[in-house]
């Protein structure tokens, strides 16, 4: 056991996987000598050499496109996109190539690929460094979308993602990178992709969330009256979604709030809400509420806290949902 923050847990995982599997290489902008702008790959080039931790030219489509070629030819590439805002140039390679190869070749050419991407707001970063595009990829068949929150979940899920024979986008909530530490096993372990985690059991209301918003939910739960018993679910994987765990909870509580940073319209909160009413229609005692980012551009950082979901907005939604 070691006490690690999210960055350290991911670095450790990469180190262990690279030690265990020669086919794994890291590629991206500044991931080498500089150790990545968040230092997630710090020290790995020194340990594994310039051939396995590669500073690429500044071109995201190139990073993903060549990673696809590497995967086709037997490697296990782990490209890093420096910030989620720069996934844009790589969108076509991810959605129209990586996600489709296995299906369009009827299994002949799989593309095992794990795309690491720091995601989300709350760190006072410049423009285009604070978005939440998980829905874009969850709506694109052929890619799995993993979005852990805690160091120990990140280690188990990253291990699973890298071993997964299909492409995975691995989102890392940058606001959590150094926000707290927890015990993380140094053993090799994997957490199954597609399984949500019940963080707190409760009987009155279910909250489904992922990423940094989890801590806002915990804050709201602290502020809630003591007799309010809330079940908190960390989705952890956006696609495939663990609707069974959610449905089981809502059948018990009858009330649900979905919380995420991404904009409301077309966000995964809508998918969660739609599936809950499909699965738990007769158990629902209040409409599923969505506490999310607004349908606006993520503002520059002076106003980012007005945009981001916080304990107060979640708290109000809890009260309203219970009172419905």
């Amino acid at each position: 056991m070691a006490t690690l923050n999210l960055v350290q847990a991911i670095t450790l995982t990469l180190q262990q996987v690279m030690q265990a599997d020669e086919r794994v290489i890291l590629l991206g902008e500044d991931v080498g000598l500089n150790g990545g702008v968040f230092r997630v790959t710090d020290g790995l080039q020194a340990q594994f050499g310039e051939h396995r931790v590669v500073d690429t030219p500044l071109a995201e489509s190139g990073i993903i496109g060549t990673a696809i070629g590497l995967a086709i030819n037997g490697m296990r590439p782990i490209p890093e996109i420096q910030f989620e805002g720069f996934l844009g140039p790589a969108y076509d390679q991810i959605v129209n190539h990586a996600a489709r190869y296995r299906n369009r070749t009827r299994g002949a050419i799989p593309v095992p690929l794990t795309i690491r991407v720091p995601v989300g707001g709350g760190i006072h970063a410049p423009e285009l460094h604070s978005d939440s595009p998980e829905t874009i990829y969850a709506h694109s068949p052929g890619i799995k979308v993993v979005y852990p929150t805690t160091p120990s979940d990140a280690k188990g899920l990253l291990t699973a993602a890298i071993r997964d024979p299909d492409p995975v986008i691995f989102f890392e909530p940058k606001k959590v990178y150094r926000s707290f530490r927890e015990e993380v096993s140094e053993d090799d372990y994997a957490i199954e992709i597609g399984k949500a985690k019940v963080v707190n059991e409760g009987s009155d209301l279910t909250i489904v969330t992922w990423g940094a918003s989890l801590f806002e939910c915990l804050g709201a739960m602290d502020n809630a009256p003591d007799d309010v018993d809330i079940e908190l679910i960390d989705l952890r994987t956006i696609f495939p979604m663990d609707i069974d765990t959610i449905a089981e909870s809502v059948e018990k509580t009858g009330r649900c709030i979905v919380v995420h940073e991404a904009p409301l319209t077309g966000g995964m909160g809508a998918e969660v809400s739609a599936r809950i009413q499909e699965r738990c229609f007769l158990h629902l005692e209040a409409p599923v509420q969505r506490v999310t980012g607004f349908d606006t551009i993520m503002p520059f950082y002076k106003l980012e806290n007005e945009y981001l979901v916080d304990a107060k907005r979640i708290g109000s939604a809890i009260a309203e949902t219970l009172a419905y």
Binding site: S61, A71, R104
Partner: protein, 377 residues
């Protein structure tokens, strides 16, 4: 110190067997044996026959949109001959069928692909070919990555990728070239400059007179060849492949050629290009000049040629049968290879062929009515 020279470059053009079937003895010396030339000739003839039949299949409603390769066969076979089957990789566009066939792709797979069947891209074991690529200009990055893997493993396979003049306008072309040159990986880029991107001529596609000059941007070795001359193409391809195998990095080869047919069967080229232009290029047909040259040389004759064409017809007829008589795909086939193992929710979609919750779980139907009646009591 005033003006100095920051950069200088010169690019060669190579032609060996010209459109009049004149052969340049010096340059052509040892490029390939007559046997090899005849082999490529046969491959081109078969491919051309497939094109003609495919066209009829589409017109008679037995196949969807199909892009003929007609007129561009030389680049395909000239490059394919320089590559080692099962060791090297081909990352194609859709106008180099002959190269894929030479590297083991069953001919009927191409028809299956254009008949709307993914099984046409289900590469058999040992066929190092990626599927035809529809999104223009985006597949060359995969060739760069495939070549990179060879370098990382210390194996000496090479990845050759084909694309058109229009494809060089896509940003991904730029990134594939830059990554390959910067990482010094064994990729061979073959630009098939047929002068047109559907209805858009070279002059509206770029302000550069040649494609080869684009390689200078990446400090990548490059050469321009007569793309309808199997000797010139092979000459350049052999050099490029040797350099790649020796760890000396990528090469860009511009093959100047022409598409004799419409862009695809959905296109009518008469809308945008002159018959004179097409006529001029018919005389530069890569197949005709090889036959003429080898016949003049006495290595070939009309009788054998007739036999060859007859054989081609037979081969293609069988290929068509194979493609048309393939067992129909299963209704649910498109689910099965979405992931190595199907997620629960997709399994439900597959089993029920429904997306609605009541459709997936009929036991839910009537629940409300029951609930209501219960309350009623």
């Amino acid at each position: 110190m005033p003006k100095t020279t920051a950069y200088q470059a010169t690019i060669e053009h190579i032609s060996i067997l010209d459109e009049h079937a004149n052969f340049d003895a010096d340059l052509g010396k040892g490029v390939m044996t007559d046997e090899q030339a005849l082999h490529l000739y046969e491959r081109m003839v078969n491919c051309r026959e497939l094109d003609e039949v495919a066209f009829k299949l589409q017109r008679s409603g037995r196949m969807g949109t199909y892009p003929q390769n007609k007129g561009q066969e030389a680049a395909a076979v000239g490059v394919a001959l320089a590559l080692q089957k099962g060791k090297d990789w081909i990352v194609p566009s859709y106008r180099e069928n002959a190269a894929l066939f030479m590297h083991g792709l069953p001919m009927h797979y191409i028809l299956m692909y254009w008949m709307g069947d993914e099984r046409g891209s289900k590469m058999p074991e040992g066929v190092n070919v990626t599927p035809l690529s529809v999104p223009i200009g985006t597949h060359m990055l995969h060739a760069t990555g495939i070549a990179w893997a060879e370098k990382l493993r210390g194996t000496d396979g090479v990845a050759a990728t084909f694309f058109g003049d229009g494809a060089t306008s896509e940003g991904d072309f730029h990134e594939a070239m830059n990554f390959a040159s910067t990482l010094k990986v064994p990729t061979v880029f073959i630009g098939q400059n047929n002068g047109w991107a559907i209805s858009v001529p070279r002059s509206k596609q770029m302000n550069s007179e040649t494609l080869c000059q684009k390689a200078l941007a990446y400090g990548m070795p490059t050469v321009r060849v007569d793309g309808n001359d199997i000797y010139a193409v092979h000459y350049a391809a052999k050099e490029a492949v040797a350099r790649a195998r020796a760890g000396e990095g990528p090469t860009f080869i511009e093959c100047v050629t022409y598409r004799l047919g419409d862009h695809t069967t959905a296109d009518d080229a008469r809308r945008y290009r002159d018959e004179e232009e097409v006529e001029a290029w018919r005389n530069r047909d890569p197949i005709l000049r090889v036959r003429k040259y080898l016949t003049a040389k006495g290595s070939w004759d009309d009788k054998r040629d007739e036999a060859l064409k007859a054989k081609a017809k037979k081969i293609v007829a069988e290929v068509v049968d194979a493609a048309i008589n393939v067992t129909p795909p299963e209704t649910t086939d498109f689910f099965d290879d979405m992931y190595a193992s199907l997620p629960e929710d997709l399994r439900r979609q597959r089993e029920t062929m429904r997306t609605s919750s009541l459709g997936q779980d009929p036991s839910q139907v009537g629940l409300n009515a029951q609930a209501a009646s219960v309350e009623g009591r």
